[in-house]
Symmetry: C2
C-alpha cells in the first residue's frame, strides 16, 4: 500500500475542490444545483451518518436506488471513511439482487425501494441533513477500493470488481490528457446508470478538473433535450436508441442542442443528417480504444499515435499492455492471445480474489508489429446489447433450470438497434415453447438478459470432449 | 510500496514506447537521431553494463558529464535496474562535487572529465555498445526513487531529493492534461542542464506521450536557432539571456523559428517585438504556477480555474496543497504560512531523511478565500539568479572562511537580466577588498553563487537575540 504522504484519494479531491473552487457549480441533479463546497459538506454528513452506523475502513456500502446525487454523496462519503460504494443494478430481479448482496457482503445497504435488510434511504434524509458536516478524521491511502462494480459473469455468477482511488484518479488524468474531457470547460451529461464505469469515468474526471456535470437518473428524450439546452451540455454518454428518440423529440427543433459536440454513438441511420444539424457532433468513427470495468475503462487510445493496422489504437501511456498465450508467454506480434495489463488503473481485485502480477482481461487481442492493438473478442463470450453486457453462461444456467431444457447455448446475433441481441439455441428434453423459456429466464435474471429468440435443435454440435462447440453454434445460428 | 501489478515505472514507459511507436524518432542529440526502439535497446545495454558492475535495486549512479543522450540512457538504465540516476552539476567546483558525491553515496560514478574514483564514460563507449541488449529481469515498483536531484541548501549543504517513478509519471500526465505538452505533437528543445527538474519535466512527459525531444547540451544562440529550424521545435526551455542572444543571432532572420510557440520567458525588453515576429510565441504573462524540485515541478496551475486574488493559480488536481502555521495547524484563508503538500508527485525523501505525513516546502504562501495561491517567498531565503538557486547560507559559510570576515549576510537584489543577483553585506575584522572576497568564494563554491557586489559595513543590524536581522539588511542594502 502507498503511504498517505504519496496518496491522492477521492476524499482529497472532494475536500480540495471545495477549497479551490468553493462557489463553482459541480453537479446539477434535476432542479437542484450543488457547488463543490455543497458536495463536500453533503459527503461529510453522509460519512458521519455512516460512521455512526459503524461503517469504516475497508467496509462496503451498497446503494440500491436511482443514479441521482445521492450516489455521488455516498461515493464521496465512502471515500472519506476508507470504505467503498457498491451501486447495485436496479434492473436486477430480486433473486439477482440477493445474490449480488451475498457477493458484496456490505456493512450497510441503502435502498429507495423495499428490500430485505436495507435501510430506507428516503426516510433517512432528515437524519443525514442533521448529521455533522465535520471532516471525518480518517486519511485512507489511495490503493484502497472506493467503488465496487459488478462485472464479468463468465462463470455465470457476477464478480465484484473493486476499483481504487489511485486507479480512478490516474484514469481521470489520462481522460483529460486525451481531451475526453476539457479541464474546467466540459459540461457533462451523465445520463447512464451509475453501476457502470462508463458513466463514472467522465463524471469523476470532470469533477477532478472542476467541470460541471448534469445527472439524469430518469432520462427520457424530451428531458434530455431540455437539460442539454438549459445547461449548455458539451458532452453526453448517449447511445443509439436515445439518440434516435431525441431526434424525434426535437424534430421541430424547439431545443437548442448546439452546445453538444461529444457523444460516443451515432443515430441508427448514420446517413440521417438531422442529429448532426441539431448538435455540433461530428460523425462518430470506429472504436476509440479498448477497456473494461476491471481497468476502470480505457487502456488503449486511438489518439495515441498515427493510425495503423489495429482498430483499437495503442496502449495508454500508463498501462503496460501485453498479449499472452495460454501459458502466459507473450504472443508474437500479430499473433492473437489474451490481453493482459499492468498499471495503476487495474482494480485491487475481485472481492476475495486478488489479482496476480498481471491482470488477465479475459479478452482476446492482437498486438500488431506497428504497435496498434486489435480486440478480437472475449476468451469467453459476452454479448453487448445496448449499454449492457450479457454473459451467455449466466443465461444458460437460468435456462438449464427449466425442466424441459437438456442443454442450451446462448449467443449474440447482430441487431441493428442494440448492437447484439440474445439468442438461445436449445436441446429440449421435453416439449416447451420459446415464450415459456423466455418467461422462465425472465423470472431468474434481469429482463435485458432474456433471449429475444429461441431455436430448438435436436442436438447441439459438440467437440471431441463432449462440450458444446460454440463456434459451430455461431456459424449455424449466429445470424 | 505499491505492488508491481499497479506500478507503471519509467522502465515500463521505455519498454512500451519501443513496442507502441517503434520507428518513431524520440530523441535528437546533435546529428544523432534515436527512435523509441533505439532508446530502449541503448537503455538495456547500459543497464546490463551497470549490472555487470554490481549496480542494482536501490543503488544510485552518478553522472558527471554533459546533458547529452547518455543522461537519458543512464536514467532509463537505472530505471530498469530499480536504481536512481544522480546527474551532477558540472559547474560545481571540485570541492562541491566531492561533497555532492559524499552526500549521494553512489554505487558508481561516470564522468567525461577526470574525477577521483569515477569511471571514464567516453572510454567505456565500446564496452557499452558490446553489452547485451536483453531486457534486465527486474520489475521495480513505482514508488522507488529513479532520479536524484540536488536542492535546497537551506542549511548551506545541498540535499539530494529522491524523485520516484510514480511522481514523474503522474506529473507527466498533469503536464499533458494542462497542455504544457501536446500528446504526440510537441517537439521539445531541452536546452537546460539535466541536473534540474525543469528540463526533465517536459522531456519525460513528451517521451511518455510519444513526442520528439531535441537535446542541446552545449547551446549557443546560433546553434539553438539552427536546431529549432531543422527540427521544427514547438516548445523550448529558454530564459531571458538566451532569448536576447537568439534575437541578435537571428537579426537577419536567416533562421525560420516560426514553429516555436511555447517558451516560459521573454526578452529582457518585453516591448521589443522582434522575438514575437520571428517566433509564434505569445507575450509571456506572469507566473503560471508554483512548484519546486521536491514536488517534481508544479503543484499549482494558473489554468486550474478563473483568475483570482493569488498570482500562482490553484492547486494541481492531484496535489493536496495546504498552508500551515509554524506548529503545523492550517492557516486561515488569507493568512501566510508554510506551503505543505501531499500527493504522488512528492519525492520519496531527501537521501537518508524520509518525509513526514506532509511535505513541508520551506516556502511561504497564502491560500486566498477564492481558492487561489500566492507564493510569498522562502521561509528561509533563496536567491533565484537565472536558472540557478543560490542559498545565502551557503555563500555566507564560504565568506566566513575568509580571515578578514567577522560576519556576513548575503541577499538577492533585483537584476534586470538575471532576476536577482547575489550581494554580500560584510562586517570585516581586518582590511580586505571586494574583489578579494569574491575571488575567495569563487574558490569554494560555483562561480554563479559568488557575490556580484560586496558592501562593507561597520556593524550588521542584529535582533534582540544577537542574530543578524536579515529584514533590516534587505531594507537598507536590498536595492
Amino acid at each position: 500500500m502507498t503511504d498517505v504522504l504519496h496518496s491522492f484519494t477521492l476524499a482529497d479531491m472532494v475536500r480540495q475542490q471545495a477549497r479551490v473552487l468553493p462557489g463553482t457549480t459541480a453537479i446539477v441533479d434535476g432542479d437542484d444545483r450543488y457547488t463543490f463546497a455543497d458536495m463536500d459538506r453533503a459527503a461529510n454528513r453522509w460519512a458521519n451518518w455512516l460512521a455512526a452506523r459503524s461503517v469504516g475502513l475497508g467496509d462496503r456500502v451498497a446503494w440500491h436506488g436511482p443514479g441521482d446525487v445521492r450516489t455521488l454523496h455516498l461515493l464521496f462519503a465512502a471515500a472519506k471513511l476508507g470504505a467503498a460504494l457498491v451501486p447495485l443494478n436496479v434492473r436486477n430481479t430480486a433473486e439477482e439482487t440477493a445474490r449480488a448482496l451475498e457477493t458484496a457482503a456490505p456493512a450497510l445497504v441503502l435502498s429507495t425501494t423495499p428490500l430485505d435488510g436495507a435501510i430506507d434511504a428516503d426516510a433517512q434524509a432528515p437524519a443525514v441533513r442533521a448529521a455533522p458536516a465535520d471532516e471525518p478524521a480518517i486519511d485512507p491511502d489511495d490503493e484502497r477500493p472506493v467503488l465496487g462494480v459488478f462485472t464479468g459473469a463468465f462463470s455465470g455468477r457476477p464478480k465484484l470488481a473493486l476499483l481504487t482511488h489511485r486507479g480512478i484518479v490516474t484514469q481521470s488524468l489520462v481522460t483529460a490528457a486525451y481531451r475526453l474531457i476539457e479541464p474546467g470547460a466540459t459540461r457533462y451529461l451523465a445520463s447512464g446508470p451509475m453501476f457502470h464505469v462508463g458513466v463514472h469515468l467522465k463524471l469523476l474526471a470532470n469533477y477532478l478538473f472542476g467541470g460541471l456535470s448534469v445527472l439524469a437518473p430518469h432520462p427520457d428524450a424530451a428531458a434530455l433535450c431540455r437539460l442539454i439546452e438549459r445547461e449548455r451540455v458539451t458532452s453526453a454518454l448517449l447511445f443509439t436508441p436515445s439518440i434516435d428518440q431525441m431526434i424525434q423529440a426535437n424534430a421541430d427543433r424547439r431545443h437548442d442542442l448546439s452546445s453538444l459536440r461529444d457523444v460516443p454513438a451515432q443515430p441508427s441511420d448514420p446517413s440521417d443528417g438531422a442529429w448532426y444539424e441539431m448538435t455540433s457532433c461530428l460523425r462518430a468513427s470506429g472504436p476509440t480504444g479498448y477497456g473494461q470495468t476491471e481497468t476502470y475503462a480505457m487502456v488503449s487510445f486511438e489518439a495515441r499515435g498515427p493510425s495503423g493496422t489495429g482498430a483499437f489504437g495503442r496502449p495508454s501511456p500508463v498501462a503496460a499492455v501485453g498479449v499472452a498465450r495460454p501459458g502466459g508467454i507473450e504472443s508474437a506480434p500479430g499473433e492473437p492471445g489474451e490481453i493482459t495489463v499492468r498499471g495503476p488503473q487495474i482494480m485491487a481485485g475481485y472481492l476475495g480474489e486478488p489479482v496476480g502480477i498481471r491482470h488477465r482481461t479475459g479478452d482476446l487481442g492482437v498486438f500488431h508489429p506497428d504497435g496498434t492493438l486489435d480486440f478480437v473478442g472475449p476468451v469467453q463470450e459476452v454479448i453487448k446489447t445496448g449499454m449492457e453486457n450479457v454473459y451467455p453462461a449466466e443465461v444458460e444456467i437460468a435456462l438449464r433450470r427449466h425442466p424441459a431444457v437438456a442443454e442450451a447455448c446462448v449467443i449474440g446475433i447482430p441487431d441493428p438497434q442494440w448492437g447484439s441481441s440474445v439468442r438461445a439455441v436449445v436441446e429440449a428434453g421435453a416439449e416447451c415453447t420459446a415464450d415459456e423459456l423466455i418467461e422462465h429466464t425472465r423470472r431468474h435474471i434481469a429482463s435485458y438478459k432474456k433471449p429475444r429468440s429461441v431455436i430448438f435443435v435436436a442436438k447441439l454440435p459438440r467437440n471431441a470432449a463432449g462440450q458444446v462447440d460454440r463456434g459451430a453454434v455461431h456459424q449455424k445460428w449466429g445470424s
